[in-house]
């Protein structure tokens, strides 16, 4: 059972570029080889929280037929979000060093 926090996973997934909810789920699943599975029910509130904390910005794309004519909401990291993502990555790496056998 992966113990990674949803907000951390979302921030790290957004480092590689702007994205929307469904694609972020796929991105996290692929980059962790299926070990971290995010639930839709949890990621949207987390995305909105990160946005209201100033770590993300969002914008709407064009309306799409497969979404019933509704637009996609894309998220991107703000400068603050990018800084936090980098700090998080460093601290997680520090934590993982012993388990990875890195001195």
């Amino acid at each position: 059972m992966p113990l990674i926090d949803v907000r951390t996973a979302l921030l790290q997934a957004l480092v590689s570029g702007d994205s929307y909810g469904l694609e972020l789920i796929d991105r996290v699943r692929e980059s962790t080889k299926g070990h971290v599975l995010l639930l839709e029910g949890r990621i949207y509130p987390a995305l909105r929280e990160l946005e209201s904390d100033g770590m993300l910005e969002s914008y709407e794309g064009p309306p799409l037929r497969e979404r019933g004519g509704r637009p996609r909401r894309y998220y991107k990291l703000t400068a603050e979000g990018r800084k936090v993502a980098r700090q998080e990555a460093r601290s997680i790496y520090g934590l993982l060093k012993p388990a990875l056998g890195v001195s």
Binding site: E40, G41, Y44, E60, E66, G68, R70, R73
Partner: protein, 172 residues
């Protein structure tokens, strides 16, 4: 009844096995033709489903044409008609499912805040359409239920946070 001579039995046996082999070869050809034709139809996907059978026949692949000449015209047409019917049926079943899912979620959307409709619910709908296209009917049904449940939960959270924000600002 006179007993059959040994020669007669051997000849009949050879004859039966020849017929069996021919039937097996025929069945294999029908299977190959059905597989190559349904592959062609699935590549053309939705567009083909609305084309007439004659139009589809005019765009038949080289592979299918090869199987057809080996199988014979009449038998080939039977196989092609069967495949075409099943592709059409599948297409309409999927379209129905797509329409039902979209209608259910559209009704549910009336009760939700616009942001949740455009973001959470529309992502669910996109995923449901993807699963329907893959033929995962039951997963699509489950996703509709999950969509209703989670968007409901998130809408309640959204209203709660709005209320607490208002309460906070009025206290200040």
């Amino acid at each position: 009844m006179a007993a059959k001579s040994k020669k007669q039995i051997t000849t009949e046996g050879r004859h039966d096995s020849k017929e069996l082999k021919a039937a097996a070869a025929q069945a294999a050809l029908r299977r190959d033709l059905a597989a190559s034709f349904s592959a062609t139809l699935s590549q053309q996907s939705v567009k083909s489903a609305f084309d007439s059978f004659e139009e589809v026949l005019s765009n038949i692949s080289m592979e299918s044409a090869g199987h057809m000449s080996a199988l014979g015209a009449d038998a080939s047409l039977d196989v092609l008609r069967e495949v075409y019917k099943s592709v059409l049926l599948n297409h309409y079943v999927r379209e129905d499912l797509r329409r039902v899912a979209a209608s259910v979620l559209d009704v549910w959307a009336i009760f939700l805040p616009q942001r949740i409709v455009n973001e959470d619910l529309a992502d669910y709908l996109q995923d449901i359409n993807r699963r329907i296209a893959k033929g995962q009917r039951w997963k699509a049904y489950l996703r509709v239920v999950a969509a209703i449940f989670w968007t409901g939960v998130n809408a309640v959270r959204h209203f709660q946070s709005q209320v607490s924000k208002k309460a906070g600002s009025s206290n200040q």
